[in-house]
Symmetry: C2
Subunit: 574 residues, 2 copies
């Protein structure tokens, strides 16, 4: 207890502290007020406030000192950054702690993916707590890299950085009481159980909560969020790159229920994190929507720490980690400095901390088996006048529509039709060399030439390529294999731009700035080929997501996602 | 999972619930509002609300339905009732759960006392969670029945009904970092650590909190409570029989910090519990002091459940125990019905529940060794003009003053002096037959005759007797021994009234009504002997409490409690 003794001596004032923040306006999320304080720090912890001496003194001259911000639910893979590079991106925005669900890593690598996340997220300027992915694979209609049972989850649940079981997306399975789902809840007993039940209401929602689900981050309507909050679900107010629900849900929050609210981003791109911000952006939106600043900071810190039982995180008081942010004006909230365990890690938007050495990457995950071009060919229908199902993209949404079109025929096969924007979509299984190849057609990319390919393809993350011709489709797949995963734009048999994602085919091994530059070039290349979508590769990555309506394509073929059935390209004559 | 499956079927509406509260105004402590609901209950749990059918329907016609009330810190021995009788006393007041510190049982019986409490508090209409007493004995200046080390506490900490380590009263020991105290905190790791540090402030308070102490219930001043709350201590707002701090502290509470506040009674007599109330009384005081009703109910339920991690307690929502109260008017809050796990246990002030069979009592704790009257005699001083220290009672306070008086001499000894109200006080060790007898003098009882004796004598609970003569003192001790502990009023060698407390010498084995009647007779007898104190036996019971200033008497002799030293009856000439 030597270390404890020294900290107590410092607290009693018998030894100087390491660091003293003088003349702070302390955002006290425990007493729900802002009050002046001189805050002493030692050994990474807050020691107390009052009349202290210290080896280093920082006169804040009335600036605000608040606890670092906490994200309650985030898929770090959505940034396509390694854990250290993600930390480097968000520390300047005041993020101190993130609760992550490594759902994509787990779908590709199983428990190895979770172990990689645990190991590569140690000793960083941001602390990570991990929820164990509960839906691997998401559905039986796609071939993922791994399968996780309740037994697998139990193997890891005791780790002190594991905060519980991640979003139970199979919500009918939960409220219907399937053993497979209830046993996952049971595996998380004593820790947290996150929910995912968009639009679920009434008695089935009661059953979902009764089964043990404790949170929600999928509410998009105020009434939906109110029903869930009343039932005791912790409300993760989401504001990500595409899912922007905070302004809609803000009127729900009162000081009397704010303890049951947190901020979350769910998915946010590297560029958005850097330029718009992270949880600091949520605080700004919340204050703009009329939530009192102290309440907004509570939602951004202690409430999340308590919900996920993050011991000694989320407040400034003795025993808490000295995870602190300095800012000048709650009305125009911009983080000026970020401290992690008492060390300055970011200042004026720049990361100034130290990153540990790189953890070795997981094994290659590109294990394909296919025959080109035979596997990509769609034989013309024997019956004349037959029509095909086409996936129709709705810009900036992950749901799609199904369109019925006459096929363009030639050389005995169904061809892409650039004039009607009906392009070929190919999904090749990449985990087990099963030889599974799904082929379909999609409208919305507007490519006049070439192909776009990605190994980020929710949730199984097989290779997905959209193209105007089979040659460029093949070249895209070959390039992605060579890169060990990534995203690529191809035209006229040559590579126009690429983003290598050698870590599980999901994440770059490059620095933040390089990743952002590559993404920009990639999008520019796609736009040059005719695509006018804001985020062509993100749109592409959701075309395999079989649980989300209406029509999707996986390695197993076309999926009627609204009914969770496989379906056929050719519409049956009725 | 069969039971789970059935509850899920009920939640989905496929089977009727057991009980449905129709047309309730639900006090929703999770969403911080009151809203209409039809609440379904089955298998002791809340299933949900909405359109349900049930075997039994209760139309509340707009009456309020709130979660049962929770006491965050209580010494059940202060009621002198067994666990079932205490439950019977408080269930009509809406109490559903009590966090108790069996400090007195432990000082008499050690771990056996805690085990007895655990066993005798099972399957009652009130649920009990137990904090492990951390100060047994309270000081080395008195001889308790047992000694509990951190190792002893570790033996029991894992029990799911053990909520942590009870109030660390040796607060200097904590902030000075004594291994004995820090190891008790360590023993409670992962559970709660309750504090007790009246008046502690500044840097030493920082150190006390830094060491791991998480709550306070001793604040008597608003500024003291504010400092502690800001430092992250959970604030137990106390309103007991004598310690009445709620009205003083109520202005501290805001909706933005109320999550860190609970109600507690600490010590409350049976009669006060029955006539004034329990946590319902706290709710009334809080609302009268201007705390919004929903906030008051949050403080009385979910906040305490969360702080002590009482899983599934403290709210009305799916998965929570159906611990419910019905009342008609938050402005005039009176509990009309109390339900425990879906069963009606009290109505209109009457207990209507079922109590389980009596758990067998602990072994006898009356193990005295003394010689009468020799041990009670105080030899006259050899030096003429010598003066004696007299304990001076301050009515309704546990602190005393020291008075210096000339002794009344006769027959070669110091005699009680009724004319100056200087009576003899005797403490006889009762646990280990050590033969320890402490003798002193006390002012404030105003007995003109006889003696009052008690085996309730904080914190070691030896036999304490105040008397006008040695014969009645001896008879009181003999009677208490025969009763296996209790309280007794003696005069002219005969018993005037008595309250047998055969359970550890602390608690009656009789029903609530009988205990209240006996206490009334006992107080009447004391008053008849000349005493004008409100609670003569409670006053008597605190005269041995060695940590509380100024002058006390234990089995080891007079104690200068302000300096935690032994002292002498005769004042040294200076």
């Amino acid at each position: 207890m030597r270390n404890v003794q020294q900290k107590l001596r410092i607290a009693r004032g018998e030894e100087p502290a390491e660091l003293l923040f003088k003349n702070a306006n302390l955002v006290n999320v425990l007493s729900g007020e802002i009050h002046p304080a001189n805050v002493a720090v030692a050994d990474g912890r807050v020691i107390g406030w009052g009349d202290y001496s210290a080896h280093e003194e920082i006169d804040l001259q009335g600036a605000y000192l608040a606890p670092s911000l906490i994200d309650g639910h985030f898929h770090v893979e959505s940034s396509m950054l390694t854990m250290p590079e993600f930390a480097r991106a968000v520390a300047p925005h005041g993020t101190g702690t993130v609760v992550i669900d490594p759902h994509e890593y787990a779908n590709v690598l199983g428990l190895d993916g979770i172990r990689y996340v645990l190991e590569s997220s140690k000793n960083l300027p941001v602390d990570f707590f991990i929820m164990l992915p509960s839906c691997v694979p998401a559905t039986p209609l796609e071939t993922a890299g791994a399968q996780l049972t309740a037994g697998d989850l139990k193997l890891m649940i005791a780790d002190e950085r594991i905060a519980g079981i991640a979003e139970l997306m199979n919500y009918p399975g939960v409220y219907l009481g399937l053993d497979s789902e209830l046993s996952k809840i049971e595996a998380g007993k004593g820790k947290n159980i996150d929910g995912h039940a968009p639009g679920l209401t009434g008695r089935n929602l009661n059953a979902y909560v009764l089964a043990g689900v404790r949170s929600d981050h999928e509410s998009t309507e105020l009434s939906e969020a109110r029903e869930k909050l009343r039932l005791g679900m912790h409300m993760l107010l989401r504001e990500g790159s595409t899912e922007r629900n905070l302004a809609t849900l803000a009127p729900l929050v009162t000081p009397q229920n704010a303890a049951n609210c947190s901020f979350a981003t769910d998915d946010k791109l590297a560029g958005d994190l850097v330029h718009e911000g992270h949880i600091d952006h949520c605080v700004r939106v919340a204050i703009r929507m009329g939530i009192p600043p102290v309440t907004a900071f509570q939602i951004a810190s202690i409430n999340t720490a308590r919900h996920y039982r993050l011991r000694n995180y989320g407040a400034i008081a003795p025993r808490f980690w000295a995870d602190l942010i300095v800012f000048d004006d709650p009305g125009h909230f911009q983080v000026r400095q970020t401290y992690k365990k008492g060390k300055l890690v970011a200042e004026d938007g720049k990361f100034v901390g130290v990153l540990p050495g790189i953890v070795s990457q997981p094994r290659s995950t590109m294990n394909l088996s296919y025959r080109a071009p035979e596997d990509f060919r769609v034989a013309a229908p024997s019956r004349s006048g037959a029509k095909i199902r086409v996936i129709e993209i709705i810009p900036n949404q992950i749901v799609t529509r199904q369109a019925i079109e006459a096929p363009k025929l030639g050389q005995g096969e169904v061809l892409p039709d650039i004039t009607r924007d009906v392009l070929k979509l190919v999904v090749v299984e990449r985990h087990h060399a099963t030889g599974n190849v799904g082929v379909g057609f999609v409208r919305g990319f507007k490519l006049r030439d070439g192909a776009l390919g990605s190994t980020v393809a929710h949730d199984a993350h097989n290779v997905v390529v959209v193209g105007t011709n089979d040659t460029d489709i093949r070249i895209a797949i070959e390039r992605l294999t060579k890169l060990q995963g990534g995203q690529v734009a191809v035209a006229n048999s040559s590579i126009k731009a690429e983003l290598p994602l050698p870590i599980a085919g999901l994440v770059s091994d490059q620095p933040l700035e390089e990743v952002m530059a590559q993404i920009q070039k990639l999008n520019a290349a796609a736009h040059e080929l005719g695509c006018d979508l804001d985020a062509p590769f993100m749109t592409l990555s959701f075309l395999s997501l079989s649980p989300i309506p209406e029509l999707k394509l996986t390695d197993q073929g076309l999926v009627d996602a609204a009914h969770l059935n496989k379906t056929e390209l050719f519409v049956q004559k009725t």
